[in-house]
Symmetry: C2
Subunit: 309 residues, 2 copies
């Protein structure tokens, strides 16, 4: 690492920052595995051809097709994890944006305490106490926003994550089971020297296995217990919004949910207690900087994995 | 790479050598993914605790347990692939050991042709023609051994491979489905500033999810269509052996099968046509050298992956 600058995350978002970084490595590993596997599928087909054994040649070629599809599912899984990672980032961004309002409240409190000790008669104390009331109101909003966003996006993120796990698994089971059918078309009855194996009689059966696998994949549908959300009427500003007409609790997951990262620009008008963010709290720059630095750092290990491959 | 010495594989085993090498990279990638995931599970639990949101803290901790178990399955999968890779090596070793007998036959043929052109009256021709007959007999044995071993071990290798794919998938589905139950215990109804979420009332339900997941994993059994083998009576020397009494074709997969790598030391007595391997054909050194070089080369990228992690 050439520089530590920009790597300091607000205390509040440090832990999630680390998780998001680790997930980037995990995703890179799955992408590397998928790439290797696509290559191996091709190599297996070529090896089979080179054996000059008709049975091995036919079956290894068809196995290669299924292995390549299993590898493709590994890659699709990696892309789905990238989406889940994006949702985690929405929580992290909210955490980062809440830090300044916590800091501001603490700072004003400290100033008042200091002033009361040093210049107990200062008229500035009254002014600061008014500011503290505003800071506390702002902080209450920020903490409620953080709590609302965290719960909603936490469910959304791991909904993605586990749905992707199940989809990869179910599709790979389909493919692996058909692949096992192919193996049973290989007659491994041993021969004596000078003898040859009978000609491969299962060309049609082998082709049918691939057709069946394609059909099964085409008709595949992910069927999991849905994750229920009551956050569907989460309004702008990440606060409870107006109830959506005709939509009850637990049934709102289809309702449009505003992106958590957009609330910062609208909170000024919508915040129920009417406070305004100070500039440090609403400025988007610290978040973008964190994202940029993270991308720079993480592209390096991702490439290293691909060099190894 | 510091040296090219020792990397030359016999032509016959080059393709499989490459597959075995690629699988080593793929296995390394899965191991890296598993390591990352174990770390993420721990980090998620710590993040949840730091949110000071009782619900998120409880659920993220339990999710961490399931995520760590999913990671563990990824690692078990990598170990199973290592076994499959070991079976591929048995084919590759046989390929390597057959190469010298092919080469020897070609060499004797070439010498005869050269001698017939240069010194057609040479008495050495008769001697060489006798040697060619022996070389051809030896080659017939070697090719039959190669064919027998290839078919048997090909089925065995991919039986392992796809069984491992299915087992990882089925266990991860169990874990991911229980994980989704945990998510539904998080109430994401938004709160207004100053309000707090009600206390987490689902501690017992969350604990039950983990218990159920453990039970399901403990009772899990892999249930796949078996791969049938007729190679069960493959005798020493990788030739058809004596039929096992009372065991019919297709039912012999339970019979003891000699390791293909052991046949070289016993072929002298058992080979049905009574030929003997020449030293180049039966010497174990070229194989061991290839294995050693491969290990050296492959440990490097495996470590690089772990550095990235």
């Amino acid at each position: 690492m050439a520089s530590l600058r920009g790597t300091q995350q607000p205390e509040l978002s440090k832990k999630l920052f680390k998780i998001i970084k680790s997930e980037n490595h995990a995703i890179g590993a799955y992408e590397a595995a998928a790439r290797e596997r696509v290559g191996i599928a091709q190599q297996l087909s070529e090896w089979g051809e080179a054996t000059e054994d008709e049975t091995i040649s036919e079956i290894s070629d068809k196995l290669g097709v299924l292995l390549a599809e299993i590898a493709e599912q590994e890659d699709i899984y990696a892309q789905a994890l990238e989406e889940y990672r994006g949702v985690l980032k929405q929580i992290r961004n909210t955490e980062s944006s809440v830090q300044p309002s916590r800091d501001h409240k603490t700072k004003v409190s400290d100033e008042i305490a200091k002033l009361k000790y040093k210049e107990p008669q200062s008229t500035k104390i009254v002014q600061l106490e008014q500011e503290l009331v505003r800071a506390e109101a702002q902080s209450l909003v920020a903490e409620a926003q953080l709590s609302n966003i965290t719960r909603q996006k936490f469910k959304e993120a791991y909904d993605h994550h586990f749905a992707a796990t199940i989809e990869r698994a179910e599709k790979q089971i389909i493919l692996a089971k058909h692949a096992r059918r192919l193996l049973n078309l290989v007659d491994d009855t041993p021969i004596v020297p000078g003898d040859v194996h009978p000609p491969f009689a299962e060309v049609e059966a082998a082709r049918q296995v691939l057709t069946d696998a394609e059909d099964d994949l085409r008709h595949y549908q992910l069927d999991v217990e849905p994750i229920h959300s009551n956050a569907g009427n989460l309004g702008v500003g990440a606060m409870p919004g107006a109830p959506v007409p005709g939509v009850g609790a637990g049934e709102t997951s289809g309702a449009p949910v505003p992106e958590s990262t957009t609330y910062e620009s609208t909170v000024r008008n919508e915040s129920p207690v009417g406070v305004q963010y100070d500039k440090a709290g609403s400025a988007p720059y610290p978040l973008e900087e964190a994202d940029r630095v993270e991308r720079q750092q993480q592209e390096v290990p991702r490439q290293e994995v691909s060099n190894v491959a």
